[in-house]
Symmetry: C2
Subunit: 513 residues, 2 copies
């Protein structure tokens, strides 16, 4: 068995059965080995930013890592922005980066680069494998690192001669180290705070706003009247009718400050003190009121779930009845396109068990509020702020959950970053309905420019304008194999959305704004 085959077999043994990839020459032995291990699903992507974004979406929904395959330093470089987002989302990911054969590096061929240096800023585990006989063991350790709570990015650099060399050995994946438990004093402090009568919110970080953890938090909320919040840049929220409600902290600094003003205490669980997305010459960076007492119950690398369970015990909350969202949908609106009308349309039609991937930026700010009472669903957003995650994340979520409809809410500016994802959605016939909000601008930046004070000049505004020419998203999607239509009224949007949810493959709706 060569190193490449031992790698794929070790991945499979570690429960990593999906590889998003854009391989090159140095990865041909990995690619060839796919025929030896047909259980591994290879998903080709036409750009590496799609690979890493898809691996993020996959991990958020599957709860386990996908692997990726990149071509040397430059291929990895193209994946870094969405790896930034994945790192901020604390998802597991196992990156395989092909490297020149060890004997070839000395010749400084054109694609030579310092792959470890390129990988390091976004990798929490990083190793260059030395030889074919090490590949399996190194891969097993990478998987264990990726699975370390709450989820980490592990990068294994694979020289071509380690891939093609014989002597590969499949390795068993070791247990990941458990997340460190927090001291009892922090549980006690949080319990005391939650009983002292002050207005309190609990901010829930990555992976805590889903499943049993969310329910535990809701029980604590029920007995303490603490409000459950999520950072603006959250990883995944399970929500809708019958589930606890979690409120997202707004993006706009003034709105976030206003929302947090009532809280005298914040308890952080896998979250940092709420801060503005960007610093500003006059607005504060921190969003909580100045006299707010902020406690960290557990940091992101600590045992957040265990801390929450211990807190529930301390508060005798386990038998409490959590407040659950009642079922409510707006009536289907009609008439002219408005942002509120679009949100109401989505809320009226969103199917049960949907996965919503939301990179709608300015155009979708009403969406979460409008959909809170719709049937249960999961909501994923851009967790690192690097635009271009939406279309790839939808691909990954759809690969992870083939039985669930995916609704991707995408801004035109962000969508243009990684539109190659549409081709993979077509190729894999993924059940994704993409809605593109085409406002022909980096509208969020126009807001920021205006927020600086003064009158932005025409040359500045011109740099934030993505019209002239207007992008024809319908033709663009069709050119990549995706059925598409344009909706110029709420009625057309509703019809297109219904059609999208009923179809079992990908489709796209452009909404000119």
């Amino acid at each position: 068995m060569n190193g490449a085959e031992s790698l794929i077999r070790t991945l499979m043994q570690g429960g990593v059965d999906t590889c998003f990839m854009n391989p090159g020459t140095s990865e041909m032995h990995f690619v060839a080995a796919l025929d030896q291990v047909p259980q591994m699903r290879g998903v080709p992507c036409l750009f590496e930013g799609v690979v890493s974004g898809a691996a993020d979406g996959y991990a958020r929904m599957a709860g386990r890592p996908a692997s990726t395959l990149f071509h040397l330093g430059p291929g990895l470089s193209n994946a870094l922005a969405n790896m930034h987002n994945a790192g901020r989302a604390h998802v597991p990911m196992v990156n395989i980066v092909g490297e020149h054969a060890t004997f070839h590096r000395q010749y400084d061929a054109p694609l030579t680069s310092d792959i470890e240096a390129i990988a390091r800023p976004y990798s929490r585990w990083l190793r260059t494998t030395a030889a074919a006989s090490d590949v399996g063991q190194d891969c097993a350790e990478a998987i264990a690192a990726a699975r370390t709570a709450p989820g980490r990015i592990a990068t294994l650099i694979l020289p071509a001669d380690a891939a093609w060399g014989e002597g590969g050995r499949v390795a068993a994946v070791p247990a990941s180290p458990p997340a460190p438990a927090v001291e009892q004093s922090r549980i006690d402090d949080a319990a005391i705070a939650l009983r002292n009568g002050k207005r309190t919110a609990i901010i829930l970080g990555a992976h805590l706003t889903e499943g049993a953890t969310l329910l535990t938090a809701a029980k604590i909320s029920a007995v303490t009247n603490a409000k459950l919040l999520a950072p603006f840049a959250f990883t995944r929220i399970s929500r809708g009718a019958g589930l606890p409600g979690v409120t997202r902290i707004p993006y706009v600094t003034g709105d976030a400050i206003e929302m947090l003003r009532e809280f005298e205490q914040l308890i952080l669980l896998g979250a940092t003190p709420p801060a503005a997305f960007f610093g500003h010459p006059t607005r504060p960076s921190l969003l909580a009121r100045e006299d707010c007492e902020i406690q960290t119950l557990a940091g992101i690398d600590e045992d957040c779930t265990g801390a929450l369970a211990a807190l529930a015990d301390a508060l005798h909350a386990n038998k409490a009845e959590p407040h659950l969202q009642v079922s409510e949908r707006p009536a289907l609106p009609n008439g002219e396109i408005t942002l509120a009308g679009l949100a109401a349309t989505v809320a009226a039609l969103l199917p049960e068990n949907a996965i919503v991937v939301d990179e709608s930026v300015t155009s979708g700010r009403n969406m979460m509020a409008a959909t809170k009472g719709t049937p249960p669903h999961d909501w994923l957003v851009n967790t690192g702020g690097s635009i271009g995650i939406g279309l790839p994340m939808a691909v990954g979520a759809a690969v992870a959950c083939p039985d669930r409809p995916v609704l991707c809410l995408e801004a035109d500016g962000s969508g243009m970053y990684t539109l190659q994802a549409l081709w993979t959605a077509a190729r894999e016939n993924l059940n994704i309905t993409t809605v593109v909000f085409a406002n022909r601008a980096y509208a969020i930046l126009k807001g920021e420019l205006a927020g600086m004070g003064g009158n932005p000049g025409p040359r500045a505004l011109d740099m934030l304008d993505i019209g002239r020419p207007d992008i024809d998203w319908v033709s663009l999607a069709k050119s990549l194999g995706i059925p598409a239509r344009r909706a110029t009224s709420l009625d057309e949007f509703a019809m297109a959305l219904r059609h999208g949810f009923m179809s079992n493959g990908p489709n796209l709706i452009e909404i000119p704004l």
Copy 2:
């Protein structure tokens, strides 16, 4: 004057009057300052890989750096692959990377990252500016670093508060350090070698296959019978009728070895010993024959031009008559599409003074041979091997040389990497005719996979296939504002190419293969 304005004014003073950009919130003050300094041309790009690729193409043709503007670590990350290519091409580039305000970094907002670590692998000069009053001086030093021969990538990280802060001062750009002269002994050794009767080739690296340097090399060739070669991954070759001929070392290892077999001596000028693009289990990494004597006349960071002039003096070559390419064009072919026919069509129609940007990979391997006797033109290729440079480089070349027609020969797989460049070409109405060779595959990888021996399985081949669905490049181009047509015969191709060269704006021709 705030820091941002001092930055733009310093750039202008340093002869850097073009900025390819994709800004975000942290760069809004730079964007706003564009209205204070209208001489600075801002060119918006919808993805950062377009920004860096365009800056590369610009520098290759203008002979001076463009600036770029990126949004924090992730925006820079998206630009790295084409920065790898630019670094390998040894072009000057001045990157400006926006960073969080210094007081905001501590809050670890979602877009926080270690920008210096991200920039370092591809930057030869790197600094984070401290305050508004330093911005001008830091920028001036960045420009001087970028201009250091043969051309370097300089990256200046600009915290938002240094951009918006008052106290900005425009700085004069210091002289760049001269390239170190090579010792006389190396000149003498090369002169001796060139007179010893052995079959010799001179390999010319970045920036040496154009202008007066190329002519000097050709004179040396005339008096010594040495052959002039360029690496497969060269930066720019000025060529065509009336110019000296330079032969490109082939990509395919066997072909390169065959071509180099005749040479008993190689003299390197700004080049490294020719090596295969990739290591291989059985093929050699080094391409010259084993007994070949290889001398380095000057390394890439040394004074290559001076060394060549000194060598010409030593050989009394300055009054020699260089061999110049005679004018010859094939007859316009017709009938079915073949790769040879496509090359002949380009050769028959290429206009004088054209700039050819060639990322045609497998489909365009006949192009350079076919066009050697066409009217004078410049040929640019992918110098670092990271695919996705072609469309952006064409944008940069066209911005640098608005009076010259640009022909971009693009493979479909590579083109999909950075297709957002088409939008910028439309927006700026750039005179670019793009030919997309649509073979629906990473054909080069299919060759590499076959070259490994054995029979690649269907699952492996499937990963290298970019059909299913076939990408409709005509619709795709039109969706981004580019007139486009499909050519299914050589006659249609000739008609479309003529039309492209006659139009003064962008257009695209898809050739299904």
